[in-house]
């Protein structure tokens, strides 16, 4: 009884470890080569079903070759089918298969110098005294960082027409740029652009959000 138990346990142990799918046997050299060639031709991506069929046949043939009860004709047939499928996959890959799309390069992050607190009267690009105090600080910053060029970017909230907001933000950006240029910042280092309501940073459904969206900032361009 004990001997039988040992036999059962041993069989379970060894049975779980035994492999039936060793493809590295001489009889499958041609099939392995054909599959390697189709894989190199891009078949996994361009002809996935054919390539998978070829690979599954290779493993099936490997199992049949190592199985007790040798059936040479069946085994050869499986290996030949694997080669045929691999050749089909390779041929299909050479037709109508575009190279994989290249990942889009990430746009470089732009440093933004926020000019918090710059406000304009309604429908105007005139600078208020409070805004001028903030712009004087911006002049100091640009003098300290003499190598950078900046774009003055102005934004509005979504109230009003798109075209009106774009035009208003253009005028406000130009107004700020002119102030900076008139206070010693070289015009070569400055440009201006109005973005209208296209780049909100908060929801336009609340007064607080709209106030956040009405803003001017300096974008470091180099």
């Amino acid at each position: 009884m004990i001997k039988r138990l040992i036999l059962v346990a041993s069989t379970l142990s060894l049975g779980a470890c035994a492999s039936h799918t060793n493809i590295n046997i001489d009889e499958l050299a041609d099939a392995r080569a054909a599959i390697a060639a189709s894989k190199a031709a891009g078949a996994e991506r361009c002809a996935p079903k054919l390539q998978a069929k070829a690979v599954s046949l290779l493993y099936w043939a490997a199992h049949e070759y190592t199985e007790t009860g040798y059936h040479p004709e069946e085994n050869t047939e499986l290996a030949e089918r694997a080669i045929a499928k691999a050749n089909e996959a390779k041929a299909a890959s050479s037709k109508n298969c575009a190279p994989p799309p290249k990942p889009k390069p990430k746009p470089a992050a732009v440093e933004i110098i926020k000019l918090s607190g710059i406000n304009f009267p309604h429908d105007s690009a005139a600078l208020t005294p409070a805004s001028i105090a903030i712009l004087d600080q911006a002049v100091d910053t640009l003098n300290r960082r003499a190598r950078i060029s900046v774009e003055v970017a102005a934004h509005t909230d979504s109230s009003g027409k798109d075209s009106y907001n774009l035009s208003l933000s253009d005028r406000r950006a130009a107004s700020v740029m002119n102030y900076l240029a008139s206070h010693g910042i070289s015009a070569d280092r400055l440009s201006s652009k109005g973005y209208g309501e296209t780049q909100p940073v908060a929801s336009n459904t609340s007064a607080e959000g709209r106030a956040e969206n009405r803003r001017v900032e300096l974008r470091v361009m180099n």
Binding site: I2, L5, I6, A9, S10, L12, S13, G15, A16, C17, A18, S19, H20, T21, E44, R45, P48, K49, Q51, A52, K53, V55, S56, Y59, W60, H63, E67
Partner: protein, 84 residues
Amino acid sequence: MKISLLLFSLLAFALPANAGITTSIEERAAKVEADTEGNNSYHAHLARMFASIAEEEKAQHDLGPAKEFMKMAEEHAAQAGGEK
């Protein structure tokens, strides 16, 4: 005493290695099929084909190979990342 220890050791190794024995090959094949449904990637195709071979081996009463092909099917199904 020695024999008991030997038996215990063999069973301790044998049972985890045969885990999944209670789930049938057909059930596992159906799960692979469901997990990769609509997925036309190489790994999904390979998973379905290995599962199919596993069922065929099982039908021929070759349980060892059936389980091994099913394990390969499940590994490729996992690599395929499920339904697409």
